[in-house]
């Protein structure tokens, strides 16, 4: 983060991304409402499944409810409406305008994306999580498993703030395929479902068999959903946060290195 905000230009780019996203407030509000309905449906499924077992499960309903609402809150950050825009710029040659700027190109792209996703985090994710946390105790679903101390909330906030950066790292690495093939979307298409499964978008990784769970816990996808879910649930918070921060740093650094290496091989204006 320090490296990113090292120059004033990057702060300007982050602010530009923030404003750009806030321009779409109507769409964000409408999709927040839809996320609320999906969340209730998923809660209904878990309530029904656990309820039919008389509550005798290894993972309690409060933990499952936290999983559902964190998933709904973070979905738009991980599955961005503007995915593949970098790849389109690479193929379209528009990247040259970015290279002409007197700033680090990778950091500029990261800063703009971060601005957009921070706006989503502030408007959509926070709304979904706050409304769920307030409403759940007065519904048949019961309360969610949430931090009970201020330290816990600070760590949870930190974990949520790492998600936009980790998400950019994962998406950027896929978008770099545009440097070598025009069929870059094909790669993303094939990877989408396995990566979403490994991240815990379809079911919590706690439900995975031990070997698969081990793979999911030590994969970079852990930083996207499962890590913030565990931090909010209060499960192994410090270790989870360290792993999440580590993967976020690795993803961003490998993105920056790959971008620099691929740029040296890319002809711009015939040279």
């Amino acid at each position: 983060v320090l490296l990113l905000f090292g120059s004033a230009e990057h702060v300007v780019m982050t602010a530009a991304g923030w404003r750009r996203q806030l321009d779409e407030w109507r769409s964000m509000l409408s999709r927040t409402a839809t996320a609320g309905i999906y969340g209730l449906i998923r809660c209904g499924v878990f309530l029904a499944v656990v309820g039919a077992l008389d509550g005798t499960t290894a993972i309690g309903l409060p933990q499952l409810l936290t999983y559902v609402w964190v998933l709904e809150a973070l979905f738009p950050i991980n599955y961005c409406a503007w995915s593949w825009q970098v790849a389109q710029r690479i193929r379209g040659g528009d990247l040259v305008t970015l290279l002409a700027l007197p700033t680090n190109s990778f950091a500029t792209l990261l800063a703009y994306d971060l601005g957009r996703n921070l706006a989503q985090l502030a408007v959509r994710s926070t709304t979904v999580l706050c409304v769920a946390a307030l409403l759940m105790p007065v519904t048949p679903f019961g309360p969610m498993a949430l931090p009970r101390t201020w330290t816990g909330w600070v760590l949870a906030g930190l974990s949520l703030l790492l998600v936009p950066m980790a998400s950019f790292g994962v998406r950027f690495l896929q978008e770099c395929a545009a440097f070598v093939t025009s069929d870059y979307r094909s790669i993303g298409r094939v990877l989408y479902f396995p990566l979403a499964f490994l991240a815990g978008f379809m079911v919590p990784i706690d439900f995975f068999p031990p070997v698969l769970r081990g793979v999911a816990e030590w994969s970079p996808m852990f930083a996207l959903v499962s890590a913030p879910v565990r931090v909010l649930q209060g499960v192994d918070v410090e270790r989870t946060l360290v792993v999440q921060a580590g993967w976020t740093a690795i993803l961003c650094l490998s993105g920056a290195l790959l971008f620099r290496r691929l740029l040296t091989r890319t002809p711009v204006h015939g040279g």
């Binding site: 209904g44 499944v49 039919a52 499960t57 094909s186 094939v190 379809m202 079911v203």
Partner: protein, 267 residues
Amino acid sequence: VGEVRGYLILAAATIRAQIESRTLFVTGAVASGLSVGLETLGIYLVARHFGQIGGWSPEQVVVLNCLLSLGYGLFSVVGSYVSTDTFAGVLRNGDLQRGLSVPVGALTWLLASGVQPRQLCRCAVAGAVLVLASTRAHVEWTAGTVGVVALSVCATATMFFSLNLAATVVTFRTRQASELATVLTVGGATMSGYPIHIFDSILRLIFVYVVPIGLTVYVPTLWLLRLPGVAGIDRSMLPLTWIAPLLALGLATVCWRAGLRRYLEES
């Protein structure tokens, strides 16, 4: 006859255009197969984690889910352009105007232009998993059970199609995807992937009688697994699994015509 011939000619052209880019076609097919495979694996893992869901074993839940996936797969193959978000894009890009100049009905053009052969991979994976799971769930394969599967798949696909077709009346007006249709389609699919008797009576009522996706999947599964069902939803309701989608289709066609008429008046 003219409409059918027109549909076949246009659909063949759409398929040829899609196969033109082999990489995109193959990766699209692989992705659709992976999506249904991993979704089913997810539901299996949930059922395995809890040991059973509403008294059903993980394999029995997978059989139910595969019927749903086959129905949704069939809808994706033949009716993807009616899907609310895709249809909103068709309207905004002005593609429907182009379609209206073709000498077939607007709906025929829409269906033919949206044929997605790569989604057959979704059906193939769902079918393969159904065969595997049904062996473990002790399903006896006879002509009758094959007929029940075919009925369920067609009825479920018709229900998804009808829901999205009905939503076009709103999309014609707003040019935006109908969130209600998305919620009913995705929500209905999410809930119908589990035995519907585990839900409370209000949700059961909605997904059996109001938006009967639950009916078209759950009741045929009861037949396959030779289970009695619960009060209010049992095997005797099998005839309803084809009557309800036909009624929904009739209602959806009325909505489509109303929306199209308004669109033509405005344009």
